[in-house]
Amino acid sequence: MLQVENLTVYYQTLKGQVRALENASFTLANGEIMGLAGETGCGKTTLGHSLIRLAPPMVHIGGRVLLNGQELPLADMQKMDAYRFTDISIIPQYAMNALNPIRKIGQMTEELLRARKADVKAVTAELKDRLEMVKLPQEVLNMYPIELSGGMKQRMVMVLSTLLNPELLIADEITSALDVASQRAVAEMLVEFRNQHCCNSVIFITHDISILYQIADSILIMYAGQLAEKASTETIIRSPRHPYTRLLISALPEIGVRYSDKRLTGIPGKTPLLLNPPQGCRFRERCPLAFEKCAEVPPFIEIEPGHFAACWKETGSHA
């Protein structure tokens, strides 16, 4: 359904270009919920946003994206407009704070639909069904954003973003600012949307891997702008192959694990600055398995059916 080929996006700054996303290649199947995870500066937000709004200071350096076989005019803001909201939709971070505080929600929805030249009557009927699905009362349309809780606002934004049944839904850290109960509700709702065909596939950007374990079909791990590993959720959590993924998973404290029983370790060092990133694999400096070949960028290739990794140590026999 979605094919990303060698997508490279940099940020233009005063001091030069920040190489935020380097040669990203992966595919998304119909109905797949893919978690896009990584730490600060890994490029997940860049990847997510470049699929829908590649605006300055982002610069499209190379690569292409195909949605159902059609190439997307990523760098052309105007042409992309035809796809936004109808084919590709995004729930940005802090979206719940982006609801216009002086507009009733129903009013805002209508304005949004009109701006998208959608059939307001037809969609409004659908809207009522959606509200029921996310367990929001119909009265919500008559309320102002301030009357809703954080979780309710988040669910409302989810309804709005998927109103026109987009093919691809990008969810950018939609659970990060919520309390634990709302997080679960929002995450489960996302799965429900996919199940009810309100959207086709989902890219769920987050730094919280445990939420991905609960709802994602597959997980794509990124590090410093490069793709590290992609596989089914079970594989990533239980049997990761990339050294970074392994170290990351083992650094996560779990309920049931106590310091006195088992002392966890983190990953020493820092993520490299991307203004002038190191050559080759960017995890090299912190990797316990690094060797000479790592000075070359390892290709992101399939080491097992459906399991991709970019690591010379892992792909040595296949390269």
Partner: protein, 314 residues
């Protein structure tokens, strides 16, 4: 040890200050020497408020906080300054804890000028280096830099090193790792656990149950200013009794099992404003008549206290 005795923080709200907001509502617990106590709660639970009251950054409306028998709320002037030799805090956002126009190590200079003015520069530099090493930092890499040149993890360790310079007995750690990356979080957490072995007591404020479970001996679960459940961490996590604690543990995403679809997660918006009776009643699936009165804390087993009528009625 630090003791909170029926502590409350009440704000006056409303047009003419007629209404009251109980950010912290009659909370009592103790932090013994050399132990880590986790204060667990979500936003609006009052956990940060308690931290700030202990640090004397905001006033205590009712109740007392005592450090080794001395009333913290009554300290003034030089007594308060002495208090800061024993008690310090580290906050959530590493970058906003530093004055952006100065270098990061200025914080050590301030400690020198305020608390150790008689120590000469050379000896002080040695002390700073030792404190940095204790905090897991390499002095060469982190001195003479501006906050923006250091990472979040380094900045938090810097602040811990500052606290160590003062040779404190008690540290308030308010969500200190929630803004750090997963790979560095555990290192700072391990640092705290190591310091605990040296006799430091820590109030570990967090919303993340797995962190609390990892590091603390005791836990206090707060909901909207009131204690729901408290006691020895293992007992609480193995057998959570308060409906709120049960909901929390059921909703936290884990890596070892999926969410239990049997347990429903109530997501009704809790009403704002003052609540009479149990603060959790509006969201609680087990609420009944009695809950119109505020439930007292009852010991259900040694080292395990719950404030819930349903639990204590048995």
């Amino acid at each position: 040890m630090l003791k909170l005795d029926h502590v409350s923080k009440i704000y006056k709200t409303g047009t003419f200050g007629g209404k009251e907001l109980h950010a912290v509502n009659d909370v009592s617990f103790e932090i013994p020497d050399g132990e880590v106590v986790s204060l667990i709660g979500e936003s609006g639970s009052g956990k940060s408020t308690i931290g700030k009251m202990i640090l004397r950054l905001i006033g205590i409306t009712r109740g007392t906080i005592e450090l080794d028998g001395v009333n913290v709320g009554a300290l003034k002037g030089s007594e308060l300054k002495e208090y800061y030799r024993k008690v310090q805090g580290v906050f959530q956002d590493p970058f906003s804890s530093y004055n952006p126009i100065f270098k990061a190590d200025r914080i050590f200079q301030v400690i020198h000028d305020e608390f150790y003015p008689h120590v000469d520069a050379h000896a002080w530099a040695d002390r700073v280096e030792d404190a940095l090493k204790d905090g897991g930092l390499n002095p060469e890499h982190v001195l003479h830099k501006y906050p923006h040149q250091l990472s979040g993890g380094q900045l938090q360790r810097f602040l811990i090193a500052r606290a160590l310079l003062l040779d404190i007995k008690f540290l308030v750690a308010d969500e200190i790792i929630s803004m750090l990356d997963a790979s560095t979080r555990i290192d700072v957490l391990n640092l705290l656990a190591d310091l605990k072995k040296r006799g430091l007591s820590i109030l570990f404020i967090t919303h993340d149950l797995s962190l609390a479970n990892y590091i603390s001996e005791q836990a206090v679960i707060l909901y909207r200013g009131c204690t729901a459940e408290r006691g020895i961490t293992e007992k609480i996590f193995n057998q959570p009794l308060h409906p709120y604690t049960q909901m929390l543990i059921a909703s936290v995403p884990r890596l070892d099992r999926k969410w239990d679809s049997e347990i429903s997660v109530e997501t009704k918006a809790a009403p704002l404003g003052a609540v009479n009776g149990c603060v959790y009643a509006a969201r609680c699936p087990l609420a009944f008549e009695r809950c119109k009165q505020r439930p007292p804390e009852v010991q259900v087993e040694p080292g395990h206290y719950v404030a819930c009528w349903k639990v204590t009625e048995k």
